[in-house]
């Protein structure tokens, strides 16, 4: 039996480099190896650190708590009464200006230029033509003086007006039997609410606060204002609305906050 020599690789250089390169670059080669070794031990060390509490925190415990949070979503949608109206207040109780909150400070708000601004429409909608600000201002306005309740525990009374979301969704021919309405925002914020909450009579696309166009920090030119959700669900600086049956993971949901967050 003859043993065939291995086939010569196509990529093998015809002229092999001189062995002297090894000697010339000895220092470099050794340092690369040393670096690799150091890196290896470091990540091993990092792993032992993780096993202390963070692995359980991030993985097993966290996934369990999120399962419970998803269960609580279902309970909350059962508790939700689509006809139950939130208390409303008088003009004299309105706080001016509203309270600012975002995942960054007010100084870092990027104002939207209304020239050329359009509201994009996507998903299960018949008429997906984008809406200009003038068109939105021309839509019948609904005003509501309601409480904004933050997940942190603070609250204030605000006076918001703009198109009723149900009327708007009907107008654009959205599939009202779809599961979710998603709001894509200018600051890469994504919010997603259940359809019954979107169709609640106190859910509007707000363009005004206390009778004046909403100012930049509070969501100019268009934001969501619903009386049946915790504060952070009220997306600001909306650039597109999507109607879908696929759950879209929202900004705060990714951080571990409850998705439904109904009040």
């Amino acid at each position: 039996m003859s043993i065939r020599p291995p086939a010569r690789s196509l990529f093998r250089p015809k002229v092999a480099p001189d062995q002297s390169v090894l000697a010339e670059n000895k220092e470099l080669i050794e340092s690369i190896e040393r670096r690799g070794f150091l890196k290896g031990t470091l990540s091993l060390g990092a792993l032992t650190f993780l096993s202390g509490c963070n692995i359980s925190d991030r993985d097993a415990v966290q996934s369990f708590l999120r399962t419970i949070s998803a269960f609580n979503d279902r309970i909350q949608s059962l508790l939700f009464d689509p006809n139950k109206l939130a208390p409303t207040y008088s003009v004299s109780q309105v706080v001016k200006p509203p309270r600012f909150n975002a995942y960054y400070d007010i100084e870092r708000v990027m104002p939207i230029d209304p020239r050329g601004w359009q509201l994009g429409l996507a998903g299960l909608i018949q008429d997906k033509r984008p809406w200009s600000l003038e068109q939105i201002y021309g839509f019948p306005e609904q005003e509501e003086i309601i409480k904004h309740i933050c997940v942190e525990g603070w609250e204030y009374i605000g006076q918001w007006s703009g198109p009723n979301l149900k009327q708007f969704l009907t107008k654009i021919g959205a599939d009202l039997s779809a599961k979710y309405v998603v709001f894509h925002c200018n600051d890469n914020y994504t919010e997603c609410i259940d359809m019954p909450s979107a169709l609640h009579p106190q859910t509007i696309l707000a363009t005004k606060y206390a009778g004046e166009p909403i100012t930049d920090p509070y969501g100019f030119p268009l934001r969501l204002r619903t009386a049946v959700k915790i504060g952070f669900k009220n997306a600001k600086w909306i650039r597109a609305i999507e109607v879908t049956n696929t759950h879209v993971e929202t900004f705060w949901e990714k951080q571990g906050f409850n998705w439904f967050s109904g009040i």
């Binding site: 925190d57 949070s69 939700f80 139950k84 939130a86 409480k147 997940v151 525990g153 951080q255 906050f257």
Partner: protein, 225 residues
Amino acid sequence: MVAITETRAAKPPRRMHPLLLRIMHWINAISMILMVMSGWKIYNDEVIFGFLHFPDELTLGVWAQHALQWHFFVMWILVLNGLCYLAYGIFTGRFRRMLLPIRIREIIHEMVAALTFRLKHTDLTHYNAVQKLLYVGVILLIILQVITGIAIWKPVQFSGLVSLMGGFQAARLLHFIGMAAIVLFFLVHVSLALLVPKTILAMLTGGPRIAPPSRHTDENVGTNP
């Protein structure tokens, strides 16, 4: 209390704290502690009293959202266990037997005795008036705490409940006060239990066996066959 003289029944008389009750007691204790610890983290995000922040070492959850996850998980255990406990206490007659009646005169008398270290604690199976008051009090407190919690959780769905409490911030404050009262009970309860360690042992192993039922008292509700 009458000593056990004869037991014709095959089963020995049941213990002061039956196993089911002990399990419910400890589930309640653990879930209450977890609720308070996660609650403190949630509170820290928007304090009611500027001077009061709870130290991170005593709170549960890395960030507020994790504390919220814990709070809204443990609430189920607390409520379901609590409902079982209430049903047990009512239907076995334990509440009536152990916690009632509470007489004001006895409370004053035993309070004075306790403060002058003359309160006798010979019979574990019989609660004195101060104990009865504290136990009934903490049961009512936890029920109220669940109700104020529901008001804060769903202030629109239960807007009537919130306005009954005087608004959302008032409901928050009541939830805080309820927590403070439960923590106060916890401190008193644990210190008194540590002073009389056999009470802790009783809640772990069941404690002394209860005398056979007497025809003249209503102690036979749900005890021996």
